[in-house]
Symmetry: C2
Subunit: 228 residues, 2 copies
Amino acid sequence: MTRPPDEATIEQIAEKARSRYQTAEEMVTSAIREAVLAGVYQPGERLPQEQLGAALGVSRIPVRAALRQLEAEGLVVLEPHRGATVRVLEAADIDEIYQLRILLETFMIRSVISLVTAEEIDELESIAADLDHLDEGPGWLALRERFYERLYAFAKRPLTAELIGKLRADVGRYWLGLRLVDHEAGGHGVIVEAIRKRDPEAAEAWLTEHLTEVSSELQRRVAERNPQ
Amino acid sequence: MTRPPDEATIEQIAEKARSRYQTAEEMVTSAIREAVLAGVYQPGERLPQEQLGAALGVSRIPVRAALRQLEAEGLVVLEPHRGATVRVLEAADIDEIYQLRILLETFMIRSVISLVTAEEIDELESIAADLDHLDEGPGWLALRERFYERLYAFAKRPLTAELIGKLRADVGRYWLGLRLVDHEAGGHGVIVEAIRKRDPEAAEAWLTEHLTEVSSELQRRVAERNPQ
DNA sequence: TGGATTCAGATTGTATCCAATATACAAGAG
DNA sequence: CTCTTGTATATTGGATACAATCTGAATCCA
């Protein structure tokens, strides 16, 4: 069985073809999610089904399914006969979400520290290093996303990891234009170091401080945008 | 696969729900949810859209919307072009969910203790007393639901309370036929007492012990039903 | 004036129909 | 006999069409 050495395999071709989504629902869900996270639609803004469908080249049926899913993720709010709007987070919501994240993520980091292998720590360190000498931008944010995704995967708690991801997405769209505190602060090397030393207190402290700082900043910005 | 000893059909559940909801989507969502929680559909069982729609007197469109929502709640699993099945929880899933509940509920009880008023404690005590001299059954379960709903409402953390509710629903359908441990143990008066004394350690300890016990029991039952 | 009301337009909710995909089973090749 | 391949059937995905509901502005009446 001879095989062309450096040509693409059928699996690779198939994967590329499959990366364009299987169903319209998936494509539409992903598109609307990205649009909301990118700030194309602002908090409180309406999301008319007809318009979204026209923009994406589908009917309202897959749009409705997508909106239901995004409602579950906490990004939009659906009201009967009144349609969907981008969910508005008040300062109290942001406060609560970040308190939840602190609780969950400090819990998770303990699992990570007790389960992660040396090779996996190397992988984290490599990503952290890239983060440190890359400039801010979409690529940086994607890499940061990957860092935490890998980090929490090592905890072997898939449901908890998924939950944390949802909470992060909920507040993600309020990050727009926020100066990335941890980037300036020298960043993710700190927590990788704590993990390598198997020091849960240090890791928890870093996470708590970091999340608290971001939470305060976001709450301040929301409060000054909606002055009572 | 024996069906659980309850006489409920999806039609009967639908009849009860029909008047309460504005749209068919809401009614169908509620009906399927209750049917799954009541064990009418067992874990792993398929949920054909056509059959559900026929049973509930609607087309497949609202059924599909309902299934999407229930997927978000964690009760069913949707796969493209393959339809919906009742989500199957392995022992590891139950373990993780209960660990999450312990983390979240012990966190919540501290908020409750620092915010709850004397009158609110009286209300809880009244419900707990009713729970103690009522017999097990649907009414008892509903009252128990109400106890925790009220309890966690006092924490002023609506998102966290909602999350706990979802996690409880996720595992709720595995309770079928489980002897109610806390009921035998004399029950909810203990935690009310701890709240009245503003003793978070005692409240946390009771919650942790109770949840751990139920978790072990459920995991044991799941494991012996699906022997490796 | 001001409040309720009515009536159009816009938007969402649902049913029906058709297309796309998966599943099960039969038939054929090796 | 086993594995593949073709085909029929069932089920899901999606588009169109129509019904129900909301919104807002003009109108009516006190």
